[in-house]
């Protein structure tokens, strides 16, 4: 069965000429660029990446130790594809869409090699309900019917994007496997619940739309100060241990995307296991079902073959586009794009290509751009609206953003969440630097925020950003003279910005309540801090000493309200307490 899916159209045969790590040179075949071939006695899967005279160069997705020159190379005549159909959700794949669960069954606890495993379960029957009928005109991308893929997600079966416009000749309801024919078109095309798509080719859409709806993340610093749009692109660069993975996992958990594709690209095994154990237990705030029901995981950890790591981001984004085409909002996390770039660098250096900056191939910038370009909010071929938001972690060597991967990424993405080791060391999380980060979507999202949260939110955001800027300037002075020598007014400003930092910006991803803050709560916290400022300034004007103002208890109470199940109630208590405290304050 596995063979049938992955080994169709076998054609020419050749032999291995040379093996150098993941790069194998073959002779005597005539495959096209990016075609899949199987190399060696164990038939390891690989992809053609260069053709030189009579030599064909192949990157191999599995370990090549023990492979010898002279062993066979078999062509398949097809490019690297993914299987798209019901059963993707809740799966965990390696970089070339082999289900890790199946690999474990076949290989045991360790990943060995030479095992083929199709991406989808070909034996399982799904209950298909057509939404078109005989005689209906269909286009590429038209939705033919539905399958309840998981308790929370309806899978919409589509005419493959590379089919021709036609009419439905017949279509059946009932239980089918993904290989069984569920209907035919007038031109004879057989319809199935699964189709394949080459990972390196973007799936087509009707048109790209302006990103004007925010992806609500429940993270105060992100929604409040640096929002990303649905269909937008964001990068999180930061040194090791600064919070890239935690941020990405938190976004996967709480942001209001309907589908999450999470790519662990050249990172830690334990982190993937963590997602695997945590997601089935966590409840999605919208549907109440386990988060895993709307998630696809791709795990090609740092010690798994680099060529498959290179492929993993394409596998991931193709799956994301597929759900977008059904009309879903998809968010894709890639952790880390630097490891992907390094995989390209390693392959490129084995090819002895002319290196660009820091040994990366000259096409690095182009590859990054092509990848992020696959994000977007679109009108789909079937006229629905869907989006793919891409959030990429970047791991700059030495934490220095002045390096090719970070720099080339920043040229493309619209949102920059700059992680800061200094903040992380202070356990200020998320350690996103509020002075360096930016979102170029802010203006196009303002309307949405004004309409759905209120103009007040936008005003408070501007006020908070302004205060934080001022703080940075004041800190320079404090470093020289100490804070006690500042004028009272400025001491109050520092107190306010301390609250902004500690109560608004800091957010504990591991606290069951604080990990997700709805917009309403974000607004209230800002409002409270602003109120503190107003009351403080009034008190100053009355002649109350700064010290008295600074010792207001409601400040720390506000911080603690964030952890309360019933935030609104705690908030009311804090606010009336604050009013009271200021009221009784007396002039010196």
């Amino acid at each position: 069965m596995a063979m049938q899916v992955t080994r169709e159209r076998t054609s020419g045969k050749g032999t291995i000429y040379r093996i150098s790590g993941p790069v194998v040179t073959a002779q005597g075949i005539n495959s096209r660029m990016y075609d899949v071939v199987f190399v060696g006695k164990e038939q390891l899967m690989g992809e053609v990446i260069e053709i030189q005279g009579d030599k064909t160069i192949v990157q191999v997705y599995e370990d090549t130790s023990g492979v010898r020159p002279g062993e066979p190379v078999v062509e398949t005549g097809r490019p690297l594809v993914v299987e798209l159909g019901p059963g993707l959700l809740t799966s965990i794949y390696d970089g070339i869409q082999r289900p890790l669960v199946v690999l474990k069954d076949k290989m045991g606890d360790f990943i060995t090699r030479g095992v083929q495993a199709p991406g989808l379960d070909h034996a399982k029957k799904w209950d298909f309900k057509p939404t078109v009928k005989k005689g209906d005109a269909v286009q590429p991308g038209t939705i033919l019917g539905e399958v309840q893929e998981t308790p929370t997600i309806v899978h919409r079966v589509m005419v493959p994007p590379d089919a021709k416009p036609s009419k439905v000749r017949d279509i059946k309801a009932g239980k089918f496997t993904i290989d069984e024919v569920i209907g035919t078109l007038d031109d004879g095309t057989e319809l199935r619940m699964m189709h394949k798509w080459p990972v390196r080719v973007p799936r087509p859409n009707e048109e790209k739309l302006r990103p004007e709806i925010p992806l609500i993340t429940g993270q105060r610093i992100l929604d409040g100060l640096f929002p990303v749009a649905k269909g937008g692109t964001a990068a999180i660069p930061g040194p090791f241990g600064s919070g890239k993975t935690v941020t990405q996992q938190t976004l996967a958990k709480w942001s209001d995307a309907e589908i999450v594709v999470y790519i662990g690209c050249g990172e830690r095994g334990n982190e993937m296991t963590e997602v695997l154990t945590e997601f089935p237990e966590l409840k999605d705030p919208k549907t109440g079902g386990p988060l895993m029901n709307r998630t696809v995981l791709i795990a090609n950890t740092s010690n798994m073959p680099v060529a498959a790591r290179e492929a993993s981001v394409y596998t991931g984004i193709t799956i994301a586009e597929y759900y977008r085409d059904m009309g879903y909002d998809v968010s894709l996390m890639a952790d880390s794009t630097s490891r992907w770039a390094e995989a390209m660098r390693e392959i490129s250096s084995r090819l002895e290509e002319m290196p660009g900056e820091e040994g990366y191939p000259a096409y690095l910038a182009a590859k990054l751009a092509e990848f992020y370009e696959r994000a977007g909010r679109v009108k789909t071929l079937s006229g629905k609206f869907g989006s793919v938001t891409v959030i990429g972690a970047v791991s700059p060597p030495g934490g220095d953003f002045n390096e090719p991967v970070t720099q080339n990424t920043l040229r493309i993405v619209k949102v920059f969440w700059a992680l800061d080791a200094k903040l992380a060391q202070r356990r200020h999380f998320p350690s996103i630097n509020w002075l360096n980060s930016y979102s170029l979507y802010q203006d196009s999202l303002n309307d949405w925020f004004a309409k759905n949260v209120g103009q007040e939110f936008l005003d408070l955001r501007a006020w908070a950003m302004d205060a934080l800027q001022q703080e940075a300037e004041l800190q320079d002075i404090v470093q020289l003279v100490g804070s006690d020598s500042l004028p009272a007014e400025q001491q109050v400003t520092l107190e306010v910005t301390r609250m902004l930092r500690e109560i608004f910006l800091q957010q504990n991803a591991f606290h069951p309540i604080d990990t997700f803050a709805p917009l309403e709560r974000q607004l209230k916290i800002l409002r409270a801090i602003k109120r503190y400022e107003v009351l403080s300034k009034e008190a100053l004007a009355r002649g109350v000493p700064v010290r008295t103002i600074g010792s207001v208890k409601s400040k720390s109470e506000l911080g603690k309200a964030r952890f309360e199940q019933d935030f609104d109630k705690a908030y009311e208590v804090v606010m009336s307490g604050m009013e009271q405290e200021f009221k009784v304050m007396e002039a010196a």
Binding site: P69, I92, G269
Partner: protein, 480 residues
Amino acid sequence: MAREYKTISEIAGPLVFVQQTEPVAYGELVTIRLSDGSTKRGQVLDSSKDLVAVQVFEGTSGINRDASVKFLGETLKLGVSKDMLGRILSGAGDPIDGGPEIVPEARLDIIGAAINPYARDNPSEFIQTGISTIDGMNTLVRGQKLPIFSGSGLPHNEIALQVARQAKVRGSGEEFAVVFAAMGITNEEAQFFMRDFERTGALQRAVLFLNLADDPAIERLITPRLALTAAEYLAYEHDYHVLVILTDLTNYCEALRQIGAAREEVPGRRGYPGYMYTDLAMLYERAGKIKGRKGSITQFPILTMPGDDITHPIPDLSGYITEGQIVVSRELHRKGVYPPVNVLPSLSRLMNAGIGVKKDHHGNLRTLTREDHKAVSDQAYAGYAEGRDLRGLVAIVGKEALSERDRKFLEFADMFEDKVVRQGRDEDRSIEQTLDLLWDLLGHLPEEALTRLDRKYIEKYHPKYKAKAAHAPAAVAATR
């Protein structure tokens, strides 16, 4: 049948190139017989119909065109056995303690396959090392890889040994087996480890692989792989909880760089190969736990940061792979603080999973350390960071210019180093002692500055209330 060739065409650095061979496997093991009869071992790095590149572990000195090269038809394997415990082996895996040959129970490929992430088990068992800066602030758990980032001349070996001596999972009664791999450390350092293992009886449950400073540099590339292969065998076939100490990864990386240079590869940052991240990952990722297997592998690698620079590629790439790091500070060492761990740049990413009181799958509460652990550690971090920042300011404006609040933080940082960080080389603190110590110090900070601590913890553990609670009825203590 092994094939032998006298067709060496080129020798460059640690590499030998051989022509006109039968098809040779990538990664195949090689022996080279020199004209004087001695032999060296190597491994195939690149294999084509015309030319084979061999990396020679013992270095190429003495090899000339007359040497004959034999391809052994298999990749590098280690014969493993439970009897390895108590033994001292060379960096190439041969006994050097005068004991008998090891009769292998199995022969395992030393590269080590990747654990399927789906087969992994989440590391969550708290290992008490008895060192406050680790247990309290950067907790180690079973199956973690937590390196020491140190500098030359700093007491990282002492710390590693103290951890090896004191590490235990409380209530389990199980002892760790130790697999120790030395890469390019001095004989004196190796002696230091061996003496300590002998003194404490740890040697009986340890396997030592020693590649010392005067041993062949390229051999260092296989030493940690041999050690990890032995560790996997002990953990997964014999149910041991294995603590692997690798030292010094910096020497390992230098050997890697040497191979890269000899192959005239395009170097990555500061001359290290572009694939060093992946290469290191193939070592570090061999730590872990597997569902359904009893044993585990916890790694405690040591590396010395060239020029104490944490952004140098060796610590940098390591930090991107390991699950945190314990950073040893020259500044604290100069102040005479042992163990001189700077907690600020230190981190344990698996800490959250291993501390506090957690609900298990059945909804039962499991006490891992203590309920207040996370909050106390966060508060201590924030306090220490703030206090240290103020030291800079004091140097400029003097203590007098500080506000009352700031002065308290400054004192907190000093006390933290003196009371929490500093401890004896044989002082084995329980986690409760460590947490109580932290509370004692936090008690000196203004209460409204304790923003990371829940009211309920303050009332239960803060010295001020604790003292009261001890004397007064509970009801009174609760109404602050």
